[in-house]
Amino acid sequence: MILAKDIRTILRGDGVIWAIFFVLTACSLLAVYSATGSMAFQTYGGPTSAFFVKQLLITVLAVGVTWGLSRMHYQTFMKLAPYLLVISMIILAATLLVGVESSSARRWLKLPFTELTIQPSEFAKLALIVFVAKTISSRQEQIKDFKEGLVPIILPIVLVCLLIAPADLSTAGILFATCAAMMFVGRIQIRYIGALLVAAAIGFGLLLVIGNFLPEHVRVATWISRINEFIGVSGDEYQITQSKIAIASGEFFGVGLGNSVQRNFLPSPYADFIYAIICEEWGLIGGVTIIVLYMVMLFRCVRLATQCNMTFGLLLAIGLCFLLVIQAFANIAVSVDLVPVTGLTLPLVSKGGTSLVFSSMAFGIILSVSSYIERNPKSAAADAGHH
């Protein structure tokens, strides 16, 4: 079909991943549309349509970013990797010292001469994954060696995670987990990874100690209270209870778009607890579909790996995919009461500009890899047949 062919020339890369990308961004638009019907918006009247238009513009920007990156050769990032990493470390350190505080977490950095604030950890996530992918792929020969293989990879990971952790433990956690998974796939010895996990635990302990001396910089109190909440010590599980009520209220087919009741009771229903609201409005069918979409994306990346050699591009795609899926599952796990409340967003779906743009960048790079990567002759032929 000519039409399909035209689309293929415009949207380069894996078609299924493109489809998933569009479905998820559509979900985010619907969620914001629904938000304008909530009690808060009804109360203040105000320009609810303007609010929706703003989200629409961000979405258009996000699609543009994805499209642009998908057409850019991913090798570019390999060359940029060391610089990106150094820049991200500097701004992370700056944020820790002079960042803007919001909701008692110092996660934002105000851009000079503007009113815009950005979340440097989002940028650092991408930079670190690019760097780790580059290092693992370029050191495949010595990868089993401690000094030559492990240390050059592990040092930047530890540094970046330590810089993020004081203000945003959850992000540091998922980033660390993503890197560990990449290292695992990248054939680093399992005992080293095991040792690394132990080191991480010790690092966390150290952080707690530091936090006692610097409460303004490390959010120890919040972590403890959230963990207490989770294990039921405090007895007050307001958010979780409301989340469960939302999930149960939707039953299988949901109460319908924009009809959520629980959005009035849940704090930030369109970010942290969006999965619960999706379950309420679109039913369990909708909720499970979201989980399936992320798994299909992971599957497409795994499938890509079966078609090409162990290269920077492949590790990059897998790393970014891990990052998105881990964050998504962590977000959902909060809503279904598997882990303590974290404040992580559901990539692409949650309301919020920074998160949406950086998630789109991850998608763009994955699509770029799927488009430009060199396939093994045998599987490439099979793939061509598929298209």
């Binding site: 109360t43 796939v185 007050d236 409301q242 999930i247 149960a248 704090p267 499970v288 598997l338």
Partner: protein, 700 residues
């Protein structure tokens, strides 16, 4: 190839682990949504979270000039959640002492800072989520709490809980208190607060609250509220100046006459707008209060004031005119087994109807009425005339609980209709009406026969800008023929000119009306002393009526009980105060009736004097550019303003009003003490030799 296999193997393993997590998430979703579904769904409906109404600010009740008669004042109850989660032990420990110090300083000085600190610590330790810091604080005090240590961190982080409440305040306390009414609350709602409750209430907002320890509901932080919509402002027809004047005059009369209770109503003749409505009852503690709306709610036997209706019936039927003669037999007549007497014995025999009315002869009225309406079919026609005058109908004023008038049907042979019914009814007995209903008859006569519906509210202004105006309504466009109305007006003027109410003639305004002296509780033979209801109903100015007014005094216990002696002077005082409040009313009258009346010499601020003089429309000679002046001369003859000197070190302020005198003296640096009220009659300098000199002003 080995590398590739290893990589793929590890990747598949990762995928497998992810798939397991995904399955776990799906399972958890299903567990919550399906297996435990019922539990969570019912909890959603259940009571640990609910939306609570947010009270809307109640609208105000306003006087005719827009000034508030009743308004809601917000006040706040200050609570604290000492165990709010973000409040850490360290932070609490660091700041609890300074919070305690602030509480000691601003809330309760009798409780030492250490007592406060111990109390706060104990409450935190015991897990309390809701402690009372202070109740009933005003807005400024509430704002102060927001600056206290710990609390300044806000509701979520500092545990500060502010609960907004409302208190209803009447600006003028007792003035028209019963008519303004009481909103729904501990006591049953009455008055305009009750009648216009729906408009005044506004629309409730909503807030999400959460059940906390001890069955207390606290607002859930982070969740938005729907703000309430303020209630409508209800603008009444009540004029504060008139209401005040009527209240003061009636209260004084009640006190002087040791009466049980009294009513005074002032109504605008042309529209039916009630400008003042006073209801005073002895409260058992030696003074009078607005305790019940007798003006609207209590029917009584109106007595002689209803003779107006009897005479109008005779006139309508053509049975009599002003000159019709009747023998009043010295004031005593027998009807069947009962003797009817005039209020006091007199020697009059054959007099005309005009005199009968002016002297309020019961015998005269009863004789004329029985003479023309006696007989099986005719008695009903007399009653029907009363019904033509709308005496059997409620007025429909906007106060709930208006008393139903009782007018018998006048059907011959019926159980409630006796041989004596006709004569007694013609004199205002065997029928009951409320003071407002009686007044409305007089008002209609003053309004050339057009009966208006009495009303209290002219405008309801909603918060969204919608304004509903209530226009005057006509109850009956003509209650009697022009001839009847005109004659009735002449008779009513005659009562004040020559009749029972000559004592209330006023130099400022011409009055018209009718006295009423009703015996009541006469069936109770135990009473040693006869009880009376003293009343006066009428209107003014007599020639161009603007206001109608009724004064009813129940059971005066001093020597006077006649309507002319007890109620009529109150009527006069009210009428004169309307002149004071509407200077143009006087000009029409003063020009015509007063020529060379001596002016009380007036001293004061020049602008004030000229404003009064030109307000009345009097001519005077003026000096340019003076500040303080005195007025000399006779009214309309060589009146002139002359400058007076108040620039001495100690100016002579005798003759000035208190406000002017204080202004002049304080400008010179004296402290001033006022004794009494009125104008300055004497001034005394104290502490002459000290630096702190004071002037005492004796006012009269």
């Amino acid at each position: 190839m080995k590398r590739r296999t290893e990589l793929l193997g590890r990747l598949y393993l990762c995928f497998f682990l992810f798939a397991l997590v995904a399955l776990l998430l799906v399972y958890k979703s299903l567990q919550i949504g399906v297996i435990e579904g019922e539990k969570w769904r019912s909890m959603g409906l259940q009571a640990n979270i609910k939306t609570m109404p947010l009270q809307a600010e109640r609208g105000r009740i306003l006087a005719d000039d827009g000034s508030p008669l009743a308004s809601s004042q917000p006040f706040f109850d200050i609570r604290m959640d000492p165990n709010t989660k973000p409040l850490t032990d360290e932070y609490f420990a660091d700041h609890v002492d300074s919070l305690a110090w602030y509480l000691h300083k601003h809330v309760d000085r009798d409780k030492s800072p250490s007592e406060y600190a111990a109390w706060l610590k104990q409450k935190r330790a015991s897990g309390s989520r809701y402690i009372v810091l202070q109740n009933g604080v005003n807005y400024d005090q509430m704002e102060k709490f927001k600056t206290f240590p710990i609390l300044k961190r806000g509701q979520f982080k500092g545990g500060l809980i502010i609960e907004r409440q409302q208190r209803r305040l009447k600006t003028f306390k007792q003035l028209a208190a019963r008519t303004i009414g009481i909103p729904e609350g501990n006591r049953p709602s009455v008055g305009l607060e009750n009648y216009y409750n729906e408009d005044l209430t506004g629309k409730e907002g909503q807030q999400v609250v959460q059940r906390s320890v001890g069955d207390v509901w606290i607002p859930v932080s982070d969740v938005e509220v729907i703000n309430p919509r303020r209630g409508a402002d209800v603008k009444t027809t009540i004029n504060i100046g008139l209401q005040d004047a009527a209240h003061t005059a009636l209260e004084r009369a009640l006190r002087q006459n040791e009466a049980d209770k009294g009513v005074a109503i002032v109504m605008e003749v042309e529209t039916g707008a009630i400008k003042a409505i006073v209801n005073l009852r002895a409260n058992g503690y030696g003074y009078y209060q607005e305790l019940y709306n007798d003006a609207v709610g209590t029917p009584y036997e109106p007595g002689s004031t209803i003779k107006l209706a009897s005479v109008m019936a005779l006139l309508e039927d053509g049975y009599a005119n002003k000159a019709s003669m009747v023998d009043v037999d010295g004031g005593v007549a027998r009807f069947y087994d009962r003797t009817l007497r005039d209020a006091s014995p007199h020697g009059m025999q054959e007099i005309d109807l005009q005199k009968v009315f002016e002297k309020s002869s019961n015998v005269g009225i009863a004789k004329l009425v029985t003479q023309h309406y006696r007989g099986e079919d005719k008695e009903k026609t007399f009653v029907n005339r009363f019904k033509q005058f709308q005496l059997h109908k409620i007025s429909g004023v906007d106060i709930k609980g208006e008393g139903q008038p009782l007018i018998k049907d006048g059907i011959y042979g019926q159980q409630d209709w006796f041989g004596t019914s006709l004569p007694w009814m013609s004199c205002g007995y065997e029928l009951t009406m409320t003071p407002l209903q009686v007044l409305n008859l007089y008002s209609a006569v003053a309004n050339d026969g057009k009966m208006m519906k009495p009303y209290l509210v002219s405008e309801v202004a909603h918060a969204d800008g919608r304004v509903i105006t209530q226009k005057p309504k006509v109850l009956k466009s003509k209650i009697a023929s022009n001839y009847t109305i005109k004659t009735a007006q002449e008779l009513l003027s005659g009562v004040v000119e020559r009749g029972t109410a000559t004592n209330i003639q006023s130099p400022w305004i011409k009055l018209a009306g009718k006295t009423g002296t009703t015996q009541f509780d006469y069936a109770n033979t135990q009473n040693k002393k006869t009880k009376y209801i003293s009343s006066f109903a009428g209107y003014f100015p007599a020639d161009e009526p603007r206001y109608s007014c009724i004064v009813v005094v129940f059971n005066p216990k001093q020597k006077d009980y006649y309507g002319s002696r007890v109620a009529a002077p109150v009527f006069k005082e009210i009428a004169e105060s309307t002149v004071r409040l509407n200077l143009e009313m006087m000009s029409e009258f003063a020009d015509a009736s007063f020529d060379s009346r001596e002016v009380l010499s007036a001293r004061g601020y020049q602008n004030d004097i000229t404003r009064v003089l030109s307000g009345i429309g009097l001519e005077y000679k003026d000096e340019e550019m003076i500040k303080w002046a005195k007025l000399n001369g006779r009214l309309n003859e060589d009146m002139a303003l002359a400058a007076i000197n108040l620039d001495d070190q100690l100016p002579d302020v005798v003759g000035l009003g208190a406000r002017d005198a204080v202004f002049v003296l304080e400008e010179k640096g004296y402290r001033v003490r006022l004794l009494g009220s009125g104008r300055v009659s004497e001034q005394i300098l104290r502490n002459e030799n000290s630096t702190d000199q004071r002037v005492d002003l004796i006012l009269e």
